[in-house]
Amino acid sequence: MTSKIMMTTALAGVLGLAASMASAQEVRFMCYSDGNECEVYDDVLSRFEADNPGIDVVIDVVPYQAIVENLPVQLAAGTGPDIAKVTDLGGLNEYYLDLTDYVDTDYWDASFADTLNWYRVGDRQGYYGMHSQLTITGAFANATLFEQAGVELPGAGATWDDWAAASRAVAEATGTDFPMAIDRSGHRVAGPAVSYGAALNGPDGPTLSDDGFAAFATQFVAWHDDGTIARDVWAGQGGSTYRDAAQEFINGELVFYYSGSWQVGRMDENVGDFFDWQVVGSPCGPGGACSGMPGGAGIVGFEQTEHPEAVAAVIDYLASEEIYAEVTARTRNLPAHLGVASAGVEYEGVSPAAQAALNGFAAALPDVAPAAFWYQGYAGNRAMYGITVERLSQAIVGELSVEEAVARMEEDLAAAMAETN
């Protein structure tokens, strides 16, 4: 009897060991979706698993909030995932796994070019992230309202003032609630601020108080005061909470909506034939630029993983041109992969309007000003976004004057940099 028990125990031990060895290459991928990204990754990675039986990729789908708030704490505590889809590209650099030794760096350089720099900070200049979806901010216009009002859509090279005047005229003629709206986000106002001359990275380092930024802040607050911009978006929230105005645009309550390329799918699905809409890019400002703000998300691995080779293999697979092209087409995002971009993307299941919108956003990419490109890759940009939203909101509701708000932004930025340096 005793020998039977011992044999059973030994067998169970061997089976347990075998089972643990079989799952030794488990790679956990923390993923959030703007649309259907995680679903598509799950599908393409199941093919990867079939080709690589030793690697088991487990996708943990989480809300975006978890990526922003929980992931950094998990990484600091050493309990993070192996791979994640992140948007704080430079901010998490200290935790990234350097893929240099595992991937074909020539291919990565040729395919992802400057976006690789968004993941690099200071001395850490390796290969860390594959920019999986490129976004760019820009405007949507309700073409039907313009037609009803008999107002011409401002053409290429039109300024923010031109669009504000035209949107007011359309709103007045058609009885529309709001002429304009811009998402409540520091990222979203960065493009317009750059067009107004904001340097963002001044001679003494990052800044939110130069003349260009102050000029934009003054105009932005004035547009809230005179009703050009919907107060609900920026004044209807507190802190640095994000709020968009997509629903107002979809409801036909908004003439001109400044958001970004990631909204195309939502517009396509929800507007339907309710009205005609089109992407009109980023208006020009007195600073001479007509810049949107690039952005998006990337796939990164983390140093704390027990399986760096498997992690690199997964990311490299997603970076391959064929898979990248498939994922881009199915998720309806702009490609950051130069090969995929130059070949053109035939998006799956989108209307001609959405295809035109995505092409329109892609066409605006060369207009991105160097300051905006730098800002996207700056490791402290999340702090700057938050400060911008909080202080501009206070100026909009009258708690601070514009001058006080701009001065506070600079103080907050200095304090934030002192804490992180």
Binding site: E69, P72, G91, A235, G239, V397, G398, E399
Partner: protein, 322 residues
């Protein structure tokens, strides 16, 4: 039942008796307290100690050993002010805006809450028709989650909400309540009173029912009018319960966060940002995560809450002694 328990007790009895012989009758009490002490120490006392350490460190690293010691710098940052009444003159103006918002909120919310709860309790204490139904109606909001309360009122008060639809229908015309700082604050107070007054009404109702009927009968025989009866009998005999209600409401008011955060997000601007939201945003929602500043602010709030709790304990003791 006894048949099941008795053998178990006999099994436990043997080691416990041995332990008692070893430790003595007095010390055995600690053995019974130990499980609770461990849980309390782990989940209440240890976090408080850690919080004190965090309050004296800087940087944005979550690991305590990787954070530089800064002494009382965080407290200095919070309290550096030219004029405490004007947040714009303070280095950490958001903290002082939150402090003053909290003070105003507590004063108004507690005042209205106690007043309405007392009025409701007096009405519900009378022999009115469908008394049980009304008691349930007033208590019902207490059962709702704060987030549900916030969402319900957001749907009512938003630009295209139920209230504006009604006001448009009546011809009065709607208003963008949640974009106006004063109205947003007023509604935050109203919602908080609506959501919590049922609980305090219940306590006051119990207090009212504890007042002996013969005192009222004696007053009636003396031909005291209702106002005099209320002022000279109800209020004095209800005052111990009232004090407990006031102190509990004060503590709850200072801790207000979830329902207002879900309702307005602290806006417009910082109009409805209260102290707990400030702590949350500095420590967890913003970038960089200023755990030290958040910990220092939370210690200051803890100090206020300790004072309020001591007042409550003192009142309780006085009531018991009385």
């Amino acid at each position: 039942m006894l048949q099941i328990i008795s053998p178990i007790m006999r099994v436990i009895e043997v080691p416990m008796l041995a332990l008692q012989r070893m430790l003595g009758t007095n010390k055995i009490a600690w053995v019974f307290l130990l499980p609770n002490l461990i849980l309390f120490g782990l989940f209440a006392f240890l976090p408080v100690i850690l919080n004190v350490f965090y309050a004296m460190t800087g940087g944005d690293n979550v690991l305590l050993e990787a954070r530089p010691f800064v002494g009382a710098q965080n407290f200095g940052t919070l309290t550096e002010c030219d004029n405490f009444l004007d947040p714009n003159t303070c280095r950490e103006d958001k903290f002082w805006r939150a402090v003053w918002n909290t003070c105003w909120f507590v004063v108004l919310q507690v005042g209205f809450m106690v007043g309405f709860s007392l009025l409701t309790a007096i009405i519900l204490n009378r022999d009115i028709r469908a008394r049980g139904f009304f008691r349930s109606v007033f208590f019902f909001p207490v059962l709702l989650s704060p987030v549900v309360v916030a969402l319900i009122w957001k749907w009512i008060l938003q630009r295209e909400g139920v209230l504006n639809a009604f006001l448009d229908w009546t011809g009065v015309g709607g208003y963008n309540w949640l974009v106006d700082a004063n109205w947003a604050f007023t509604w935050a107070v109203f919602i908080s009173v609506w959501a919590h007054m049922g609980f305090y009404t219940l306590i006051l109702l119990a207090g009212l029912q504890a007042i002996p009927r013969d005192v009222y009968e004696a007053a009636m025989m003396d031909r005291a009018n209702p106002w005099r009866t209320f002022r000279r009998i109800t209020l004095p005999l209800l005052s111990p319960t009232m004090l407990v209600v006031v102190v509990l409401a004060l503590i709850k008011g200072v801790q207000t966060f979830d329902e207002v955060y879900a309702f307005t997000g602290g806006g417009p601007g910082t109009a409805t940002t209260f102290i707990i939201q400030y702590i949350y945003e500095e420590g967890f929602a913003g970038a960089p995560r200023l755990f030290g500043l958040a910990a220092a602010a939370s210690l200051l709030v803890a100090g206020v809450l300790v004072v309020l709790t001591l007042i409550q304990l003192w009142i309780n003791r006085r009531n018991v002694d009385g």
